[in-house]
């Protein structure tokens, strides 16, 4: 089977006053219809990778890749119009905090129907029906009410569900979730992940799950890429997490305190220069 997404030698650079910052330095991977996790600390380039795939690298950032292809489309050659057609319908992205990623002056319903009407030739009534259906699919109990609410009127968990509904309403093939639950409480986090899990499974999407939380990612994904300083330092099947070889991955796993363990002081990560090489 042909992979959904092929990335070869992707790099993202930003020219700054003090020289060129290399946020992503030549990474390669493939994604099928599976869940792939990308893990790393702040500054490791994980979010920049996600943004580059969506064509959302802000200027003056420069994206270079030998291959960046999404179901047969060469993304490196895509113009603005092609991107607009793809984003929201064939590939979609969920961001961290619904407080900032939803439009504050549009009702949730209108934001969802806007996506639909932009990409598909549907009537207002049909768009509304599908939006309500989608809100129900993300387990919002009273979709009619939430449809008419503004983002500030809903909780973080509800906002994130609305965000998921908006992103999935056109049935994309690829979903990039950038820290989709980091702004949420742990119990709400589980519900949102549960919804995401079910929708991804039922619709047969490819998912890239970006997070700093290695344990969370490994409990959710099939495969994990560990990034450090713009490079992939290790690729693991989540089942083999405990046998991680790279000292950085091991360090990340070790340094979080776990319930029922007594380790004082906690092991800290000793960064080695050669990891960034």
């Amino acid at each position: 089977m042909k992979p959904l997404l092929t990335v070869r030698n992707l790099s993202v650079t930003y020219p700054t006053r003090t020289g060129i910052v290399e946020a992503v330095r030549g990474i390669s991977f493939e994604l099928g219809r599976e869940r792939l996790g990308i893990v790393g600390e702040s500054g490791s380039g994980k979010s920049q990778t996600g943004r580059a795939i969506m064509g959302l690298t802000p200027p003056p950032g420069i994206v270079r890749a030998d291959t960046l292809s999404f179901s047969g489309i060469d993304l490196t050659q895509a113009g603005p119009a092609a991107w607009r057609d793809m984003r929201g319908s064939r590939m979609a992205m969920i961001l961290q905090d619904p407080k900032f990623s939803l439009n504050p002056v549009m009702t949730i319903g209108r934001q969802i129907t806007e996506t639909l009407r932009r990409h598909e030739n549907v009537t207002k009534r049909e768009a509304r029906r599908r939006a309500l259906e989608m809100l129900e699919a993300v387990q919002i109990t009273d979709p009619e009410r939430v449809f008419g609410l503004y983002p500030f009127e809903v909780s973080g968990g509800m906002g994130q569900r609305a965000m998921i509904a908006m992103m999935l309403v056109c049935g994309p093939e690829l979903l990039i979730a950038d820290e989709p639950t980091s702004a949420l409480d742990v119990t709400v986090q589980l519900e949102v992940l549960g919804i995401l899990d079910r929708l991804v499974r039922d619709n047969g999407m490819g998912l890239i799950f970006i997070s700093h939380d290695l344990r969370l990612v490994s409990s959710f994904c099939d495969r994990v890429l560990v990034m450090y300083a713009g490079r992939i330092v290790e690729e693991l099947a989540t089942a083999d997490l405990s046998s991680a070889k790279h000292p950085y991955t091991q360090g990340l796993l070790d340094c979080t305190p776990r319930i029922g363990e007594s380790r004082h002081p906690l092991p800290v990560l000793e960064r080695q220069k050669e990891w960034a090489a």
Binding site: S219, P257, H264, L266, L269
Partner: protein, 251 residues
């Protein structure tokens, strides 16, 4: 220093943020507060420092009853707070030196030169950091400055409001180790708010689980780890903090 809080209530414009909360923290103890956002855990810390409108109940620190938002000079020196976001809690246009000088000036403490250098040493920042601005520091280094600023007046109690939740996991480990180290060295009493059960059980001997402005359960960290909890809510939190699993999620 002991903290005794009995039947404490806090209301914001009729909204009950805390509803008859009682906790007791002994001298030298490390006490945790866990709960979801909006459960009142931060409000409880703020009420102790006089930053929340108390509408009922009593707070006593070391036998001294605290009323309203007035606090004695001795209290203000003995109780220090470290906030969640080191990007927001440091003055962006003051050097580290200036921020560490401020509490000394407020309390009329002399010998500033030696104390500032000592405070930097204590939190593992070199003297070269003394004249830097917050924007020249990483998140972990900023939180070290915030801890140094709290420690410089030689407090007895530290109120820690999610001190590591804005930090990367590896940096979190370093800051947690630092906090444990200074607690041991100065025999400090900690009250620590966190949403992360792993962090709280690592740092604290006892903890209170809060929900919707009330204490659901107070238990020893060892009991929590051993699954010996009484309330369903605590159990739910435990399950949630273990990470995602297809079985744990309904639907």
């Amino acid at each position: 220093m002991t903290i005794r809080i009995e039947n404490l209530s806090v209301s914001f414009d009729g909204f009950r943020a805390l509803n008859s909360v009682s906790i007791a923290v002994d001298k030298g103890e490390s006490f945790g507060l866990v709960g979801e956002s909006g459960s009142g855990k931060s409000t409880l810390l703020r009420a102790v420092s006089g930053l929340a409108p108390v509408s009922g109940g009593t707070i006593a620190v070391n036998g001294e009853a605290l009323t309203g938002s007035r606090r004695s000079r001795a209290f203000r020196r003995a109780v220090q707070m470290v906030f969640q976001d080191p990007y927001a809690s440091l003055h962006p246009r003051q050097t580290v030196d200036r921020q560490l000088l401020e509490p000394l000036a407020i309390h009329g403490i002399g010998d500033t030169e030696r104390r500032i250098l000592q405070a930097l040493d204590e939190v593992g920042l070199g003297h070269s950091f003394r004249f830097r601005y917050p924007h020249q520091l990483s998140g972990g280094q900023r939180q070290r400055v915030a801890i140094a600023r709290a420690l410089i007046v030689e407090p007895a109690i530290l109120l820690l409001d999610e001190p590591t939740s804005a930090l990367d996991a590896s940096v979190q480990a370093e800051v947690l180790n630092l906090l444990e180290e200074v607690r041991g060295r100065h025999n400090l009493t900690f009250v620590m708010v966190s949403h992360d059960l792993g962090v709280v059980t690592h740092m604290c001997s006892r903890l209170a689980v809060m929900k919707a402005g009330e204490v659901v359960e107070t238990l020893a960290a060892a009991d929590l780890a051993g699954g010996r909890m009484v309330s369903d809510y605590t159990r739910q939190l435990m399950v949630a903090s273990k990470g995602f699993s297809r079985e744990a999620v309904p639907g």
